[in-house]
């Protein structure tokens, strides 16, 4: 059991800075997900923790021990790779026993551990097969099995589910979360899929261009994104953004987006004061825009009209793609909506859930 501390961790490939002086503390038994678009440095960070990539600057501590110059085999970690990396010339049993054999465990204990792990993952009947005789999902299980037999202090996952089909991915997602509860071990999980990040992590770390953008519990990040990037990255469909100016009228504040104006809730007036008559970016999640009167709903609402460009019925909900002036945006509405394509409708914005960002720094206000 161990915590992992990254201190000013930096990785440069020649002139390219892949990871830029990041600081992060992962607590013992925590499930942390590093998420971000490709090239954001998340995999490089994980590989540095694993010891597969040399550190340019900074320190990594695992369980309080500085491991900068410790070989991967001596870090007491296990890693599951995107392509599973099963040894093709060994049976499933030998794949799982390999690490224990190298560590000179007695045969009886190797056997016991392999069979126990196989049982947990439901792959007992596959132990004599070679990797190429397995399906994608089975290979995935074997890869996880190979990691858990060693009983490591930290598990590292590098996009382990991205080679699986959508249905299997959802199932494995659940299983990995269960496994985490069962093993109670520190896990660091890298993915580009924000849904995986939201559903699996105790905390998620959003990265971009080698920098950490925000760290927090999934809902905390979803409800209070720290900048435009995080707001747009987390959540599907992404948050709608509108460029506008903050203007005072009578005793209230409005966001003027040229083709329409929305009233800022009065309790936020003080918070936004500094930005009056300045350019801002107004953000609103699709589920906070509705096409029926918000009567009976809590919160402060304002409305405008918009034209329905596209209507996507998804069964449990309907996505409306709307346009108003130069703005286009998405609303997630009730499946029994009366709105039709090309129709001009009235849409209501839940202003209590509004987000406002500095147009220059892109940081939340």
């Amino acid at each position: 059991m161990a915590n992992v501390i990254l201190e000013k961790l930096t990785k440069k490939f020649d002139d390219v800075i892949a990871v830029n002086a990041i600081d992060l503390e992962i607590k013992d038994k925590e499930f942390v997900v590093l998420v971000g678009p490709s090239g954001c440095g998340k995999s490089t960070t994980l590989r540095m923790v694993a010891g597969l990539e040399e550190i340019t600057e900074g320190n990594i501590y695992i369980g309080g021990r500085l491991v900068n110059d410790v070989a991967p085999k001596d870090r007491n970690i296990a890693m599951v790779f995107q392509n599973y990396a099963l040894y093709p010339h060994m049976t499933v049993y030998k794949n799982m026993a390999f690490g224990l054999k190298l560590r000179k465990f007695p045969k009886s204990e190797i056997d016991e551990r392999v069979r126990r792990a196989a049982k947990i993952l439901g792959i007992e009947q596959l132990l004599d097969r070679k990797p190429k005789q397995l399906s994608g999902g089975q290979r995935q299980r074997v890869a996880v099995g190979r990691a858990i037999v060693r009983d490591p202090e930290v598990f590292l996952f590098d996009e382990p589910l991205s080679n699986l089909d959508a249905k299997l991915r959802v199932a494995m997602r659940g299983e990995l979360v269960k496994l985490h509860h069962r093993l109670e071990t520190t896990m660091i999980y890298v993915t580009h899929d924000q849904v995986e990040a939201m559903t699996m992590g105790d905390r998620i770390v959003i990265m971009k261009d080698g920098l950490i953008q925000q760290v927090g519990a999934p809902l905390e990040v979803y409800d209070h994104p720290s900048n435009i990037f995080v707001a747009g990255f987390i959540g599907s469909p992404p948050m709608n953004f509108f460029r506008g100016t903050l203007v005072p009228e009578k005793d209230h504040l409005f966001i003027d987006m040229k083709s329409f104006k929305l009233k800022v809730p009065d309790e936020r007036k003080k918070r936004y004061e500094r930005y009056i008559r300045k350019e801002v970016v107004f953000g609103m999640r699709p589920e906070d825009i509705i096409d029926s009167t918000p009567e009976g709903r809590s919160g402060e609402w304002d409305k405008t009209t918009a034209v329905v460009d596209v209507l996507e019925p998804l069964g449990a909900e309907v996505m409306l793609e709307l346009s108003k002036g130069e703005h286009s945006f998405t609303a997630r509405v009730d499946p029994h909506t009366n709105s039709r394509v090309h129709q001009e409708i009235t849409v209501y914005f839940n202003m209590g859930k509004m987000h406002l960002f500095d147009a220059e720094t892109e940081k939340v206000i």
């Binding site: 991967p72 085999k73 890693m79 990396a85 093709p88 010339h89």
Partner: protein
């Protein structure tokens, strides 16, 4: 029916007929060596007799080859030299190929190209300086003269072929092994080498064939009849002045090519995957 006939005709012209001619072309030298080696001299030197057939087969040339020349000795020399120089070259080639394909160091790709270029320098240029070197080591007219010179062209060849093969093996396998508890060397021995078997076999077979058939260094560095290899021995002892002992020459060539042909036929499958490179995780 028409469709079946069509595909057969198409296959006949695009596959069977070319294959037939190709097979004839490839096997004809062996056939020629064989019938020449069992032809009595009166048929061999009779311009009126049909050259493609033998009417009174005889083993006299074979007997001459094995009794009156040191052919068995040459074969043993060739075998010893080929095996040792192949082993040296394979071991060095594996190490160098692995380093070039896996380790990140400055000038790795330049070094790779430089190694390959040394392979392109022709032996006809190198044998004079190498003779000087071999002479300085007092190794002239010993098998070691060849065992030490053959790797000069075998190592670059093995290195090049193997580094290409190692690159086809996903590096995650090795990384995973290193996390599992292996050192780099252990990961190489337990994971990479078993997976590279086809590549290693191909490189080994090529190296073996090249040293088995090598002529110029063997001709220059070996002089006493007991030290010679098959290619040199057959040519120097069975051509006396301008007299060619055609029957025994061909018998020598035939027996000289049998071991190589056997090796290839045993490992043909590995050999093909070795050159096409196919490791799937």
């Amino acid at each position: 029916m028409a469709a079946v006939g069509e595909t057969f005709t198409k296959k006949l012209f695009s596959f069977y007929i070319p294959l037939f001619f190709f097979t004839i072309l490839m096997l004809f030298p062996f056939y020629w060596m064989f019938i020449t080696s069992i032809k009595p001299n009166r048929e061999l030197y009779n311009v009126k007799s049909l050259p493609f057939w033998v009417f009174n087969p005889t083993l006299e040339h074979w007997k001459y080859l094995f009794k009156n020349t040191l052919f068995t000795r040459w074969a043993l020399n060739t075998l010893f030299i080929s095996i040792v120089s192949t082993a040296i070259s394979l071991i060095s080639g594996i190490m160098a190929g692995y380093a070039l394909s896996r380790l990140r160091f400055k000038g790795a790709s330049a070094l790779g190209i430089a190694i390959f270029i040394t392979y392109l320098v022709p032996p006809t240029l190198l044998f004079i300086p190498l003779a000087e070197v071999v002479h300085n080591f007092n190794l002239l007219d010993t098998p070691w003269a060849l065992i030490l010179t053959y790797p000069t062209f075998l190592i670059p060849f093995c290195t090049w072929l193997l580094s290409g093969y190692f690159k086809t093996i996903p590096k995650e396998l090795e990384e995973c092994a290193r996390i599992d508890g292996a050192t780099r060397l252990q990961a190489m021995i337990w994971i990479i080498l078993p997976l590279a078997t086809p590549g290693i076999l191909s490189a080994g077979m090529f190296a073996f064939t090249l040293s088995w058939n090598e002529f110029i260094y063997a001709l220059v560095f070996l002089s006493s009849p007991t030290q010679k290899t098959i290619p040199v021995g057959v040519v120097s002892e069975l051509i006396k002045g301008d007299v060619f002992f055609w029957g025994s020459l061909m018998a020598g060539a035939l027996f000289g090519s049998i071991p190589v042909a056997l090796i290839y036929s045993f490992f043909v499958e590995h050999y093909v995957t070795g050159l096409t490179g196919a490791v799937k995780g």
